[in-house]
Subunit: 214 residues, 2 copies
């Protein structure tokens, strides 16, 4: 709203400043919502809690996000879209061999879950807090992430390099074990994210019956 | 308290009746707490919500569980102790071969997570809601469950039947993929619990580099 008013003033510089501060305000609210959802759960959090944590007014909070569920949806959608993009980019960079493509997808999945632990936790624990329509949209978005993995498993089976008799369960097992990295990974632990990602790629390939390491 | 009063009456029969109704009341409160935590989260749930759902009075609720966190701890401890017992019993029934023991543990883990989905969800989403001391106790209890699996992986590595170079990650991957069954399993789905459990046992063995099926 502020940005719109300033736009009518015709001052390019002030539009840029306000737009930037708007983006920052929005990011600060998303960050505050994420922190509060992690600590108190969605149902235990009020818009007032989020505004207070972001150092924002209630009216500014409602301006950016008409409801608490909009904050939750934005968080969940954002991390899932980033996950899909990361998996697809990793797959496409890996070349044509199914084992390389699978390893790249698993590494990208694990890396993202070592970096965005809070969003992953909220994504898993608060799916219940969306209404049926929003939940269906989120499940469909996650299915797209699953489809990236399943597509490469299908390529490997078709090429005869994967031999797993239960590709459906293998895909679910890989997706969930990689997602769970967000729940146990600690930056101060023995293995760095890239090393964990490599080990998980090996485990996933072994599960699919691929002989050796990609 | 009711039981105690009746005990002083010296009537064995009425003690038994009251004790039974006490156990039922306790179970009803645990069930109500579980249902409410699943729907609203721990922080979004009040003792009044739990009492209302159980059809109990507030005073009876506080009699059995001095605080909301006692209900949460009882739920989380109960399912984890049952998980450990199920894994240990399955392992011990499976005989001496590490692959058989591992497959039995995985099957028991998966089976429990197809049966107790709500408790598994609350266990994962509400660990944050325990204070530091209770959380440490719960983590230690879960570590005991993990140790059952890790022990058998170590047996298999020592015997040379497992060849996985990352047994630590493999154990975490197996535990988390089996736990996640609680989040996606649907009784009306294509595979019955026993079939899912068998497939997961195969996947776990493949991950550990075991050739063939236990």
């Amino acid at each position: 709203m502020v940005v719109k008013v300033r736009r009518t003033s015709g001052s390019g510089a002030s539009v840029a400043v306000e737009a930037e501060s708007g983006a920052l305000g929005r990011e600060a609210l998303l960050k505050a919502a994420l922190d509060t959802f992690v600590r108190q759960g969605f149902h235990g959090t009020s818009m007032r809690d989020i505004a207070a944590r972001a150092g924002a007014s209630i009216s500014a909070t409602y301006y950016y996000f008409p409801s608490k569920v909009d904050l939750l949806k934005t968080i969940m959608t954002g991390v899932t879209e980033d996950l899909i993009a990361a998996m697809e980019a990793a797959r496409d960079r890996a070349g044509p061999a199914p084992a390389d493509r699978l390893a790249a997808i698993v590494r990208a999945h694990v890396r993202l879950h070592t970096e965005r632990q809070a969003e992953a936790f909220v994504g898993n624990s608060e799916l219940r807090s969306l209404d049926a329509e929003d939940r269906a949209e989120m499940v469909a978005l996650r299915d797209r992430a699953g489809a990236v993995l399943k597509g490469v498993i299908a390529e490997g089976l078709a090429a005869g390099v994967f031999t797993c008799p239960h590709p459906g369960e293998a895909a679910l097992a890989i997706l969930t074990m990689c997602t769970a990295v967000a729940s146990w990974f600690r930056p101060e632990g023995e293995a760095a994210p890239a090393e964990v990602a490599d080990r998980y790629a090996d485990l996933a390939l072994a599960m699919l019956g691929f002989p050796g390491r990609a």
